[in-house]
């Protein structure tokens, strides 16, 4: 009887470990935030509470390890696996997908900061080369455009929000992004 119990106990623990590994596999492959429903489907569980618990255990494990990777829980209980930003500059050039260079990233930051913002204002602030940046950002689904008469209004997309783990609520998202940008600007100032 005792032996059986021990055996059963072990198998529960292993089952849990297995499910945590599956969540890790899912996050690794997806490269984007996944919600509890999707993760639950992968581990064959309908209980959101259970899935959440396991995902959080994986997140804690990553924290303990001191890995260069991190798992984040976004505000709507979605999880994402990504490289810690401290490491980005050192390994960026190894990434295969053509990444955005500084110019388009600045234009993106400007749009995120001022959104909703007219394309005209973006060009005025960033110069005519920003036309190309805007096109590129739209192609990458980071920015979307809305036509209002003869004006083009630009804002960031939900995909963009996911990328940064931000809220889908535009007002909240804008506050979050302004906070991030201010932090980055300060880090830059104090860093030099």
């Amino acid at each position: 009887m005792e032996g059986l119990n021990r055996k059963r106990g072990k198998s529960v623990k292993e089952d849990m470990k297995e499910k945590i590994a599956l969540i890790e596999a899912a996050l690794y492959v997806a490269g984007r935030p996944l919600d509890l429903k999707t993760l639950g489907r992968i581990i064959g569980s309908r209980s959101k509470r259970k899935t959440l618990e396991l995902a959080r255990m994986l997140m804690e494990e990553y924290k303990r390890r001191g890995s260069s990777l991190e798992i984040l829980e976004l505000e709507d209980q979605r999880f994402v696996l990504q490289l810690k930003s401290d490491y980005a500059s050192k390994v960026r050039r190894l990434a295969v997908r053509p990444l955005l260079t500084n110019g388009p990233l600045r234009t993106l930051a400007y749009i995120a900061y001022r959104q909703p913002v007219s394309q005209k204002q973006v060009i005025a602030a960033r110069g005519t080369h920003a036309y190309k940046h805007v096109k590129q950002l739209i192609e990458m689904d980071l920015v979307e455009v809305e036509k209002r008469g003869r004006n083009k209004i630009l804002r960031t997309t939900e995909y963009f929000a996911d990328y940064f783990g931000l809220s889908h609520n535009p007002a909240v998202m804008k506050r979050q992004i302004i906070r991030i940008l201010n932090r980055m600007a300060e880090a830059k100032k104090s860093g030099k």
Partner: protein, 232 residues
């Protein structure tokens, strides 16, 4: 020159000259002119030199009044409600570049997708038949471009035979044979090849080539050899 300058009345020199040059007066910000100092020193200088010039004093007075007038106009302007601060010149804040987090992402493209794409690419290239013998089309090395001489001649014999047959067929229909007619519908490279073959045929006296003056057209007639029994 120096003498001339020294002969100029003292008040035409700085700092007093400003009172005697209306254009200069227009250009200078009235707040920068210390009239009390200028007038006082002007009078002192006149006293010192013991020359009293009423005409100059009148002008100085007039100019000083103008400066006062300008100053009061500016003061009056300030009494009006202050205009809003200029909006434009303040440069727009440009935040630092937004660095995207790095995430690996498994992509969906498989070797099967790649090969399906290859089939499509070859179809559009219209070279699907090459599929069986791809090595023919691999980057041409010099050896492949110019086959060894013997192979080259065997090929040439074959080409000559074929072309001569085409020419004979046209002759039998009683047509005048021209190079453009012979090569109608052919690609540029094929036409060049046919032209080289024609030269070989002419060299062997299978055909004759001639041109009319002032025309680019090449006329082809069968040579005696060809008429008497073809190529063999």
């Amino acid at each position: 020159m120096r003498r001339e300058e020294s002969e100029k009345p003292f008040y035409l020199h700085p700092p007093w000259n400003i009172l005697f040059d209306p254009r200069m007066l227009e250009r200078i910000n009235p707040w920068k002119i210390n009239i009390a100092f200028i007038l006082l020193s002007f009078l002192e200088e006149m006293e010192r030199r013991a020359i009293v010039d009423f005409r100059a004093s009148g002008i100085a007075l007039d100019s000083s009044a103008t400066v006062y007038l300008l100053k009061s106009k500016l003061l009056l302007k300030l009494e009006e409600p202050p205009s809003p601060p200029p909006r434009e010149p303040k440069p727009d804040y440009i935040p630092p570049p937004l660095i995207l987090p790095l995430r690996y992402e498994l992509t969906t493209t498989t070797i099967q997708n790649l090969l399906q794409a290859l089939e499509d690419a070859l179809k559009t290239e219209n070279l699907l038949k090459v599929k069986v013998k791809p090595q023919n089309d691999i980057l041409l090395t010099p050896q492949e471009v110019v086959p060894q001489v013997s192979i080259y001649m065997i090929e040439m014999e074959e080409l000559m035979k074929n072309l001569l047959r085409r020419i004979q067929a046209l002759v039998e229909r009683g047509e005048i044979i021209t190079f453009s007619k012979l090569t109608r519908g052919l690609k540029r490279l094929e036409r060049i090849r046919d032209f080289i073959v024609l030269l070989f045929l002419a060299h062997r006296k299978k055909i004759s080539l001639w041109q009319r003056e002032g025309s680019d057209e090449i006329y082809i007639t069968l040579g005696e050899d060809a008429l008497n029994g073809g190529f063999e």
